[in-house]
């Protein structure tokens, strides 16, 4: 078959990559080659796919969806480790094993097609089934034929780097609950449908006449099916109500269970008596609708939990252990105290320890909030979770797993999360006095009618209980919240539960973490003063630098010419020559020693940069200082607008950071926040949140491990994009988009959702009040009640679903 593209390339129109369809960079274009590739990842993936005869991949995929293969090229050694097996794999029989792997880069039907053909690409794999919604593949392989690391490596080459799927047990439990819920919906739906058919015949008989024998048959059948609905799928309401009564709490299950009991008994009595309304059509329908609402809610929450778990899976869980002369990748669980670990640049330190060899600088911003890189050398302690920036170091571990600082913090978070008092939902509060009111009214009705006729009094009281059934009340809130949570997820806001939205409606204090939340969390070029022309030269000099300053400059400046000579001056900077031009980039002190004081304009800029707690670097060309680069953690672009948005919602905004107070003060000044605290420990942040929580609701927004405890304690904890694993675990909301704009959107959406819920509740209460008074007056005909009930429910449901919550514009 013919590959779809990448064939007709001329030097004028750049060729496109045959694997991903992106333009091929000039430097990689090979006029003699049959196919062109944009990168080595795509080349590897294409060659593997082609050699296995799977070129159909390119025909079945949607081309607009194509993405470059993002192979990591690792060996995945740790996948063969015993500790890994114990944790993530299960043995099926003597030689067959199964595991679940979370894949990156899965996005379309063609990915599914390709991944499920893994047995052909990697002999020894028996089966591969992909769950595309969760990006998780279940692999069954023959352990005698192929090691799991090879399977993982093959997936990686295809462009889907695999990660072990964690918390499988929690998901299995959730899956089981989902199945039970689905079965309940199905059973109640089938019963409701059949009872409805019988009810239509009975109602028809009321107008057109019906043989007595048939009527009796239909009534008994309805009773049988109705009781089945109550005792099988409807049992959840009774168990829920009993549990709530034991805990002395009001739950919506209580009025529902009460209504069902009363309706069921009345219906049964009337069936046996042969006269009066039997209510089983309403009861079964009520059970069905309520269960559907709950199933929706469950599905939505499971989806949010799945997305967060996906993010967990992507955090690395391996370490590189030094074993004699070589290093081997092992799962993090296999690391012991006193192991020697190698940590390469850009890797996360996997355990607490002491540096044995190597000089480097580390970014501990996730742990401490400190935005400036810290130098580190032999003999110094290093904590798990910090990122190695400059060069490879070897670390002798002193604590692993739960014993590390991060591990201890995670335990605190678990305790805090489980200790958080349960929130009383609006619907539960209303349910409390709703059921009381209905009972009082029913008693009153009975009392009013009793002197006239006892059976009639009973009928009217029962009619009241049935007609005021809390169907709309039970469905409106979960449905509106579910719809809102689903819409929010599509806009990159993952909400872990519908009740979070309710907690966000009363304004209070928003506490922002600085590093990574208000700022970008990276050491980068914040300001450039004066001469623009030397930017490419500076970049060229820093091309191979491992110093954090050099890396920051390299990442932001434009490409430059190749220097003729480069000389590094430790502690001072770097110097180089481009033909006749000599260029120096270095610290202000070194520049002053060489070239004297900088010109006044730059001297001002230098003073300003130092005042703003930025790290200044001077650039001199041919012995003259011409430019100043100020480096620091840059404030996010959209932050001022977002803070205004938060204030417009009535929240007061403050900053709590673990960073140096001078840096925090400078950033707070920049974004116009008066209350800012620096140098806070994780415990300090927690204390601040606790202290603010006394006054009103506190929303904590953060990304680091040091924020996690505060996130767990706050009324609502929001973890921002790119946050640490601990913050993901602790937060109620996770933002999948960078910046603070989603927070404003979340507050907007929450407010709108709760308004919708209140409207729906209001409508249903008004309806119920009206229906109750008619019932008390004895004016309601059972037929009218049967028609009114679904209409009211439909109105409320339409309201709940239709009203926009998220993504409705301004």
């Amino acid at each position: 078959m013919t590959p779809p593209e990448g064939q007709t390339a001329s030097p004028d129109a750049p060729a496109t990559c045959i694997h991903c369809g992106l333009p091929v960079p000039r430097g990689l274009y090979d006029p003699d080659a049959e196919h062109q590739f944009c990168c080595n990842g795509c080349r590897g993936a294409y060659e593997l796919i082609h050699s296995c005869g799977l070129d159909r991949f390119y025909a079945v995929r949607d081309e607009s969806d194509a993405e470059p293969a993002r192979a990591v090229g690792r060996d995945y050694d740790e996948f063969d480790d015993d500790a890994f097996r114990r944790l993530y794999c299960r043995q099926l029989d003597e030689k067959h094993w199964a595991t679940e792997l979370v894949l990156e880069g899965v996005h379309c039907a063609a990915c599914l097609w390709l991944i499920e053909r893994l047995p052909r690409v990697c002999p020894g794999v028996i089966e591969a089934r992909l769950d595309i919604a969760r990006s998780t593949v279940t692999v069954v392989w023959d352990d005698t034929a192929v090691p799991l690391s090879r399977v993982a490596h093959t997936l990686d080459t295809l462009g889907y780097p695999p990660h072990p799927a964690r918390s499988v047990r929690a998901r299995d439990l959730r899956r089981k609950e989902n199945r039970t819920a689905l079965i309940r919906v199905a059973v109640s739906g089938a019963l409701a449908g059949n009872v409805m058919l019988l009810a239509i015949a009975l109602y028809g008989g009321m107008f057109g006449g019906i043989e007595h024998a048939h009527e009796t048959l239909f009534r008994y059948l309805s009773a049988a099916l109705g009781l089945l609905a109550l005792l099988w799928p409807g049992r959840v309401f009774f168990t829920g109500a009993i549990a709530a009564t034991r805990a002395r709490a009001w739950s919506l299950d209580l009025p529902i269970a009460l209504g069902l009991t009363v309706g069921g008994i009345t219906g049964l009595v009337n069936t046996v008596r042969g006269t009066g309304e039997i209510y089983f059509d309403s009861i079964t329908m009520l059970v069905f609708l309520l269960l559907v609402g709950r199933a929706f809610q469950r599905r939505q929450q499971a989806a949010a939990a799945d997305s967060v778990e996906l993010l967990y899976a992507l955090t690395p869980r391996r370490a590189r252990r030094v074993e004699g002369e070589t290093t081997r990748e092992v799962p993090i669980e296999a690391v012991c105290v006193a192991d020697l670990l190698e940590v390469r640049p850009d890797e996360v330190v996997p355990a607490d320890g002491v540096v044995e060899t190597g000089d480097s600088s580390i970014d501990a911003s996730m742990l401490t909030g400190e935005s400036r890189p810290e130098p580190i050398g032999p003999g110094e302690a290093i904590t798990a979770g910090s990122v190695n920036l400059a060069s490879t170091i070897r670390v002798r571990t002193t604590a692993v797993g739960e014993g590390t600082r991060v591990g201890k913090l995670m335990r605190t978070i678990e305790q805090l999360s489980s200790a958080r008092p349960p929130v009383l939902h609006a619907e539960d509060r209303i349910a409390g006095w709703f059921v009381t009111a209905v009972l009082v009214l029913a008693a009153a009705t009975f009392a009013i009618w009793a002197p006239r006729s006892l059976p009639e009094a009973a009928t009217h009281a029962m009619t009241l209980l049935i007609v005021t059934c809390p169907c709309a009340l039970g469905l409106a809130t979960p449905l509106a919240a579910t719809v809102a949570v689903g819409r929010a997820a599509r806009r990159g806001i993952l909400v872990k539960g519908g009740d979070v939205l309710e907690r966000l409606t009363t304004s209070g204090t928003i506490v922002l973490d600085k590093t990574g939340t208000v700022t970008e969390g990276r050491f980068t070029l914040a300001r450039w003063c004066s001469d623009e022309a030397c930017k490419p030269l500076v970049r060229a000099l820093e091309e191979h630098s491992t110093h954090p300053v050099g890396r920051a400059l390299r990442d932001t400046l434009p490409d430059g010419p190749e220097p003729d000579r480069v000389e590094r001056l430790p502690g001072e900077g770097v110097e180089g020559r481009f033909g006749e031009t000599s260029v120096f980039v270095g610290s202000p002190a070194a520049a002053a020693a060489r070239f004297g004081e900088p010109p006044s304009e730059l001297a001002d800029a230098l003073a300003r940069a130092q005042n703003d707690a930025l790290t200044p670097v001077l650039v001199a060309v041919d012995g003259r200082v011409v430019a100043l680069a100020a480096l620091g953690d840059r404030v996010r672009d959209d932050i001022c607008g977002a803070i205004e948005g938060l204030r417009a919602h009535g929240w007061s905004v403050r900053i709590a950071s673990g960073d140096d107070p001078s840096v925090v003060a400078a950033v707070a000044r920049d974004v116009g926040i008066d209350d800012a605290e620096g140098a806070l420990t994780p415990e300090g942040k927690l204390a601040l949140v606790e202290q603010l929580a006394v006054v009103g609701p506190v929303v904590m927004v953060g990304d680091g491990v040091n924020d996690a405890a505060a996130l767990a304690r706050a009324t609502v904890g929001i973890a921002v994009h790119g946050g640490a694993e601990a913050s993901l675990a602790a937060a109620d909301v996770y933002l999948n988009r960078a910046g603070l704009a989603p927070v404003v959107e979340l507050l907007d959406g929450a407010r709108r959702t709760v308004r919708t819920i209140h409207t729906a509740l209001g409508v249903s209460l008004v309806y119920n009040a009206g229906a109750a008074s008619f019932a008390m007056a004895g004016l309601i005909h059972p037929l009218a009640a049967a028609i009114l009930m679904p209409i009211s429910s439909a109105t409320v449901l339409a309201l709940a679903v239709h009203r926009r919550s998220f993504g409705a514009g301004p």
Partner: protein, 54 residues
């Protein structure tokens, strides 16, 4: 109209059978993943024959 005594139980038995089949499907995990099978069905019948290798 006495045919009702035969037809209604029959209908209920049929409904029960359908319900039993659905419950079995749920318990065997067919409803766990509702997204992937929809995509899988697009490609399943075009199995590898060795001919599309160029």
């Amino acid at each position: 109209m006495s045919v009702l005594y035969l037809v209604i139980p029959l209908a209920l038995i049929l409904a029960g059978l359908a319900l039993w089949a659905f419950i079995r499907a749920v318990r065997s995990g067919q409803m766990d993943d509702l997204d992937s099978p929809a995509l899988r069905v697009l490609h399943d019948d075009e199995e590898f024959t060795g001919k599309d290798r160029d």
